[in-house]
Amino acid sequence: MANELLSEIEHSIIKKRDALLVKSTLSGDKNAFAKLMSAYKQRIFALGMSFFKNEADADDFVQDVFIKAYTHIDSFKGNSLFSTWLIRIAYNTAINSINRRKEYLPLVDEEIIVSTDTSPEERQIRLATKEAVHEALNELPEKYAVCLDMYFSYDIPYMEISEITGFPVNTIKSHIFRAKKILRKKLEELVK
């Protein structure tokens, strides 16, 4: 319960911060946009790596996405989180890119981003979680890999994943439910 409350507070602080930064950006403050980029660059870079599989292309992709976001920032109405709006732009940019390779490399497959685990226990849990998501991915058609990534790695809710990818909510929900069941089993084994 306490965790839930803290998550809600964090969520609302981030939402308010982003709304203020977007407002300042709209009034011409470039520093405000720099702060938004600082907060979300890692996420866009990770998505870029999943699609393009090399740092140079992922870096170009990040620049592309942020320039698009800046150009269309007046279309952000604050109905969803800024991160969701940004990932939607990033996902569409990647999908429409003519240089994109055909397959999507899930984030859990590679150490694209340096982990922040501080203890051996956390490393173990992280490994088990990645294994669980990976196992679930193996049972899915490839096109749904991005949904599991969005939920587990990018922390995006079902409805917003559906809005971004265009897949039906119930399909996303059932794939994620399956992955969670595997995760539960893995964690149980780990605790024993």
């Binding site: 911060r17 520093n31 600082s38 849990i125 979680t129 939920y151 929900k173």
Partner: protein
């Protein structure tokens, strides 16, 4: 447990599940472990990069070729925050001792000072928001 697995991000626990968790230590432990595992997975990509990152600078230069990165490199330091806070308090104390007792003026000035303190705190919190978000995260880990 399936009821918990069906929940979405940020979705509240149903009352029946909350009641069950009050009495079932095993489920409570499992849920805590799952929440922790999911958090570990998405935590690394939430780390902000420095404002002076090359990509950020090159995007800003693309948006505005005249943009100077000097502003990005000189945020307000903590020392400046502390000095300005102390000065504000000293001014308030000095004002309280320097004026003769006048009830109307005291009330008006108290309101002005309260406004100043609230503004100071709001600006401080929002310009150091990353610090507070990290603090909340640490508290969540501890819980």
């Amino acid at each position: 447990m399936d009821q918990y697995l069906e929940l979405d991000r940020g979705q509240h626990l149903p009352l029946s599940l909350t009641m069950h968790l009050l009495f079932c230590k095993k489920c409570r432990r499992e849920i805590k472990c799952m929440a922790h595992a999911e958090k570990i997975l998405h935590e690394p990509i939430r780390i902000p990069v420095p404002l002076t990152d090359n990509t950020i600078e090159s995007v800003l230069l693309t948006i505005d070729p005249q943009f100077s990165d000097l502003k990005l490199k000189n945020p307000i330091s903590m020392v400046n925050w502390i000095i300005s806070g102390i000065l504000m308090i000293l001014f308030m104390v000095a004002f309280a001792f320097s004026t003769n007792s006048n009830k109307d003026l005291d009330v008006a000035m108290s309101l002005v000072f309260a406004g100043c303190v609230i503004t100071y705190i709001l600006i401080f919190v929002f310009s150091n928001i990353e610090f507070f978000v990290k603090k909340i995260n640490t508290m969540k880990m501890a819980v």
